[in-house]
Amino acid sequence: MIKPVTNLGKYLMLMGRVFSRPERFRMYFKQYLNEMVQLGINSIGIVLLISFFIGAVICIQIKLNIESPWMPRFVVGYTTREILLLEFSSSIMCLILAGKVGSNIASEIGTMRVTQQIDALEIMGVNSASYLILPKILGLMTMIPFLVIFSIFAGVIGAFCTAWFAGIMNATDLEYGLQYCFVEWYIWCSFIKSLFFAFIIASVSAYFGYTVEGGSIAVGKASTDSVVSSSVLILFSDLILTQLLMG
């Protein structure tokens, strides 16, 4: 019980250092742009790929499992859209990103710690926590809504492909279902949730990387811990946010 509380305390203290006034705005902005590319743009490929296939699979599964003469044909499209909008493109996508981006952040900062690059920054008088972590948090939070949009679109295209190429269902029914009872707020819910998740992924992974002590084994452990912890926190906050936003 003591260890999680100690970690929470250390995490909060680190965040206190992260959100302090930057020494040189120009340098932070440069880092911020780099992080947007590294964490956001470089994740577009995997987001599109996974979302495309998951969209297609959701469509096929729903078609196969709820097919009934009593069920309207547009239900497949409607359900696919709701799953993509409400859970997959925000929460599940962020769980996947916790693996890709989170481990990247933890191992990068952890390696900087063990190779004394963080000490070098501190000796120069640079607030290393703020310089290394703040651009990552802001960069990921800036890019995550775009990744959510890409994910939704790729999922919908995947669903359409099952209609166009596999002939599993009629594309017109799918299109009608996708547009049926559309609630714009759900898109905003996805964005709001993803912003929280982006903060969790970047800050928790950075915390584990920044507090590494030892060598390469410790960096590997920090990388694993960061993915596990941010995934658990994403799931837990998903529960709370869904209740708050939809309840």
Binding site: E23, R24, R26, M27, D119, A120, E122, M124, V126
Partner: protein, 257 residues
């Protein structure tokens, strides 16, 4: 100059440094020597402020590091340059960008002036041709020289070197030692070098502090170290067969004279 007054430090009840007093003069290459685990690195970390000692004073030209607030500490850090054991260059930046980093962060000069200054520092360490390379593309010795160039970019008053020769061949070690020595004279800096390399001790040890199990065992210069009577120091210095032979030859020559 940097003055240490009664520095002590312990970790979880285990004393690592005990009552260390020493004066590191400016314009001199000051060496901290000692066996692995003797507390050299902890002392260096205390001096630069990466660790806080439990007692004592660390005076930078009369200003006590341990009494300083955050702002004062930050201002002092801009007067420091440090060369780490692993060089600690930023992997994602080129050699020129590494040297420019402290200038970009703290200097108000124009971009052109910052580039000029960085190139001047790289030229000083004979690495101007490698400016567009990345740390992963250059040798260990070159990385150390880039680290020296980065450390002097802001013309610091205090230079700290943590085992600058580790992992280098003897010839490259001499180049690094000479460079540090020359730069110290050029900028009239207070330079502290943490080492257990005997070539450095004999070559550039203008002032030497020998630490044994966390306390000051001996202090002197490179000329005094050779004839010192301290048994622990002699065991440390003359651990290698080569140096033992040299000492014996020197002693026999002295007897003949």
């Amino acid at each position: 100059m940097i003055q240490l007054n009664s520095i002590c430090k312990s970790f979880e009840g285990r004393t690592v440094l005990e009552d260390i007093n020493f004066l590191f003069d400016n314009g001199k290459t000051n060496l901290i020597i000692g066996q692995s685990g003797s507390g050299k690195t902890v002392l260096m970390k205390c001096i630069v402020g990466l660790l806080t000692p439990e007692c004592g004073e660390i005076l930078y030209d009369g200003r006590n590091l341990l009494d300083m607030g955050k702002r004062e500490k930050k201002a002092l850090r801009r007067e420091m340059g440090m060369i780490f054991q692993s060089a600690a260059l930023f992997d994602s930046l080129s050699v020129l960008e590494n040297v420019m980093f402290p200038l970009d962060m703290f200097s108000n000069d124009t971009y052109r002036d910052r580039v000029k200054r960085a190139q001047f520092c790289l030229d000083r360490v004979n690495l101007i041709d490698a400016q567009s390379k990345y740390p992963g593309e250059i040798s260990g010795g070159m990385q150390k020289r880039v680290a020296i160039a980065r450390a002097i970019a802001l013309q610091p008053k205090y230079l700290f070197c943590d085992e600058p020769n580790s992992g280098l061949d003897p010839k490259t070690s001499l180049v690094i030692d000479d460079l540090i020595h020359d730069i110290t004279k050029e900028y009239n800096m207070t330079t502290i070098i943490n080492t257990h390399d005997m070539n450095s001790v004999m070559g550039i040890g203008e002032s030497i502090l020998y630490i044994y199990q966390g306390h000051k065992e001996w202090e002197g210069t490179k000329d005094e170290v050779f004839n010192a009577t301290n048994e622990r120091l002699n065991n440390f210095i003359f651990a290698s067969d080569l140096l033992q032979k040299v000492k014996k030859e020197e002693n026999s020559k002295a007897r003949k004279v």
